[in-house]
Amino acid sequence: MKLHRILALVNRHLMLYKRSPQRLMEIVYWPLLDLMVWGFITMYLARYKEGLPAFVTFFLGALILWDILFRAQQGICISFLEEIWSRNLLNLFVSPLRTGEFLAATMTVSIIKVIGAAIMTIGLAYLFYSFNLFMIGLSLVPFVINLVVTGWAIGIFTTAIILRYGQEAEVLAWGLAFLFQPVSAVFYPISVLPPWLQTIANGIPAAHVFEGMRAVIETANFPLTELLWAAGLNVLYLAGAILFFNGMFRIVKAKGLLVRVGE
């Protein structure tokens, strides 16, 4: 791994934002709309559910945290798609760049986007709804890190499929993360799911993160078991996604498809 090659790609993506403000939409526009719609719905419902503890905290917290996962996944996929859209992939891979460096750069870009989107949504949630995400406490930090890693794993997996099957698979970049949402226990606990879906949900790192967040709010105890489950599953999924990407890259090179991605 060479740092200068990772930084070269990170710079390349950051320069895009300087010149092309419309790209900020993914960091500003969608999170803002989500926050406003769901935020006001939550406020409205909370009027009729006065007995339900921390209703606003649950919903807005879940919304902001889900957005972190989604932005982390998007950060990986969009960085890759930018190379396809600009027909630059071949220029990159005829250079000494390694796939590991390429992925490290997209992960770094993803972190930067997550931080940007999170600052904005947390700030706006405070402004509109007086909701302070940090009241959940520092215990949130390891859970947020886990969400980012889950986003990376989904992003790398999606990117590998786009690499193999071309731009026709591009729609996955926007849709695949949402496939995991119903079983990620984002807005409701795992216990409301039917038993067979609960089994699936227990294998999803994000589900343990959201269960953990609810436990923090409800009991103020740090849910170490949920954190360990999330971290363990994330290590497995991230390693699996990287192996899958490398496997797809080998197939693409064997089939001579690298030059055709994006055509």
């Binding site: 710079n11 220029n91 891979f93 250079s95 089939k255 001579g256 690298l258 030059v259």
Partner: protein, 243 residues
């Protein structure tokens, strides 16, 4: 005699039932411009892709600068470069930004001076801060060539570098490449469908057809062998199976 910087032995590429390249062997010598010629589907692009490590050969061996491409990819690719009129640079970045990204990728020292010098050589210095999407085809080609020379490559792979350029710009581009070759001893592998260009540029030509090398030699030798007045005539004979 110059030593070989590219050695290809029995290189084969099969895509399922199609054999795109069939056991070809050749060498490229230090400072040489080798033209790769052949009709569509002859295996030129597949061969270049294998030499650049972006397509995996089915069998055979590639040694570049004395190193095995399969094992020393990173080391080799840091010393070669590539330009094609069919590959572009990020459109939303300026010329300078694009070159800076690639300079960083190739770990070019004193990249500011280097970029400025290349912009000047290719007569695109006034376009330094122009966004790439606003460049004409000829200007984009020159930026792409500047990118290809950023790391002072020992070998340059050029896939139809002058395609879609007008005759004036194409001529200027050829002159620039010849000047750079004369100054730096750069080795170039060149493909083009412009036969006059191949005659003018190439020290030696490899003629590919249906994945096999059917002839090698200087342009004059090949014309003599196929009894053609120029390479275009030879090309048409081969492409139409009249040899």
């Amino acid at each position: 005699m110059a030593h070989s910087v590219v050695e290809v032995r029995k290189l084969t590429k099969r895509f399922e039932r199609v054999t795109a390249v069939n056991e070809i062997s050749f060498e490229i010598y230090q400072g040489e411009i080798l033209g790769m010629l052949g009709p569509n589907g002859a295996g030129k692009t597949t061969t270049i892709q294998m030499l650049l490590g972006v397509t995996t050969p089915t069998s055979g061996q590639i040694r570049i600068l004395g190193l095995d491409l399969n094992r020393r990819r990173e080391e080799i690719l840091g010393q070669v470069n590539f330009s094609s009129s069919y590959v572009s640079l990020p459109q939303s970045l300026t010329v300078w930004e694009n070159l800076r990204v690639f300079a960083q990728l190739y770990h070019v020292r004193n990249y500011r001076e280097k970029i400025d010098r290349l912009l000047s050589v290719f007569e695109i210095a006034p376009l330094r801060d122009t966004v790439s999407r606003k460049l004409s085809t000829g200007q984009s080609t020159r930026v792409s060539l500047a990118k290809a020379l950023l790391n002072d490559p020992k070998i340059l792979f050029l896939d139809e570098p002058t395609a879609s350029l007008d005759p004036d710009i194409a001529d200027k581009t050829r002159s620039m490449l010849k000047t750079i070759r004369a100054q730096s001893g750069l080795t170039i592998l060149y493909t083009s469908h412009n036969m006059r260009e191949m005659e003018e540029m190439s020290d030696r030509i490899i003629f590919l057809n249906k994945g096999e090398i059917i002839s090698t030699g200087t342009p004059a030798e090949i014309m003599k062998r196929y009894q053609g007045e120029d390479l275009e005539e030879v090309f048409l004979k081969v492409a139409r199976g009249k040899t």
